[in-house]
């Protein structure tokens, strides 16, 4: 084989470029591992800070009234399990809402359902600090209504920090809670079918921790 020198130089250039690329990649990897997530790939972000599974049930009651535009208040208990750490969190929430939909005159109801919390990073052991605080709520429900009513609804709560801004963690995403509920109650205007949406603000004001299979 004849080596003309020129091809060897080209080979060396390519080798040097490859070495530089490897060094650059290693440097980025070190920065990513030390917490600088600008240097992490999407896959790495998800692997490091994926949201931990937190879900459970809720029960609550609410009342509302108003001429035309209706508004109300609610009080809710959530029992949420951190399935990774093995802790049960009992969260009390109070909220207010504006009601848009079939007129009720005055209404009271109880409801029960499931809650699923998204966006809490998996490396946080005690999540009580994430569960306590203000929320923006939005929900919709459909009920069969003959004065007494029963039905179901879906809702989402966007969790906010104490400055009222959404909580975002790289890899875990925005923090929010999805809910599905069954509702039972009574109102002053039987519409046969009630359809409505609600928007409001709430505050998870009390959190208590019950260790289930966690060692703390």
């Amino acid at each position: 084989m004849i080596d003309d020198g020129c091809s060897l130089t080209q080979y060396q250039k390519e080798q040097n470029a490859q070495k530089l690329a490897i060094l650059e990649k290693e440097s980025q990897q070190r920065k990513c591992n030390s917490g600088n997530y600008n240097y992490c790939s999407t896959v790495e972000l998800i692997a490091k800070r994926h949201p931990k599974p937190v879900s459970g049930i809720h029960v609550g009651y609410s009342g509302q009234a108003g001429p035309g535009l209706e508004g109300g208040v609610y009080h809710q208990w959530d029992a949420l399990v951190d399935w990774k750490e093995g802790n049960l969190y009992v969260v009390k929430t109070v909220g207010t809402f504006v009601y848009l939909g079939s007129p009720t005159g005055i209404e009271g109801d109880v409801y029960v359902g499931t809650s699923n919390v998204h966006g809490i990073p998996s490396d946080v052991k005690d999540i009580s600090g994430f569960l306590k605080g203000p929320q923006f709520d939005a929900s919709a429900s459909v009920n069969a209504d003959v004065g007494l009513f029963a039905g179901g609804g879906k809702g989402v709560n966007v969790d906010l920090d104490e400055n009222g801004k959404p909580v975002y963690t790289s890899g875990a995403g925005y923090m929010y809670t999805t809910e599905s509920s069954l509702e039972f109650g009574g109102n002053a205007v039987p519409n046969l079918v009630d359809v409505n949406v609600q928007f409001g603000l709430s505050d998870a004001y009390d959190v208590r921790v019950i260790p289930l299979w966690s060692n703390k």
Binding site: V59, P121, V124, S128, G129, P134, D159, T169, M175, I210
Partner: protein
């Protein structure tokens, strides 16, 4: 099984679960730890191993957060987020870290390379913001 029976069973399950949770709550529950950070500032280690308050850094310089942690728990976690400039409502942090800390003096390294500019750093316990500091990095 008709839908009426299904509804009754669901109701019984919810009531039993509710009683179980109320019993667990009254018997085994405890308050989560309260966490406070006092006198937090940006700092760096001087030549004689003392921590000095620094408000402006140069590119590549080590940045630390100094302060004092007080909690009714011995060990706990705090989160640090760094935002470019002032934090907007939907702005995402360029740096996040979850750190194990204990009561007493804190010297937490920010393991991040920051380009010249202004940054906002928030130290939090979940949604509770314990401290907000401004970082300026010069060329």
């Amino acid at each position: 099984m008709n839908s009426k029976n299904f509804g009754y069973i669901g109701l019984v399950v919810v009531v039993v679960l509710g009683i179980l949770i109320m019993w667990l709550d009254s018997t085994f529950s405890h308050e989560p730890p309260t966490i406070q950070l006092e006198s937090t500032f940006l700092c760096e280690k001087s030549g004689n191993n003392k921590w000095m308050q620094i408000n402006e850094f140069t590119v590549g310089e080590d940045i630390y957060v100094c302060g004092q942690a007080k909690s009714n728990a011995q060990d706990f976690q705090i989160q640090i987020r760094v935002y470019e400039g002032e934090r907007g409502a939907l702005e995402r942090p360029i740096y996040y870290n979850n750190i194990d800390v204990s009561n007493g003096d804190l010297h937490i390294p920010l393991r991040i390379y920051l380009d010249p500019g202004n940054y906002t750093m928030e130290v939090s316990n979940g949604r509770d913001i314990l401290s907000t500091l401004q970082i300026r990095v010069n060329d």
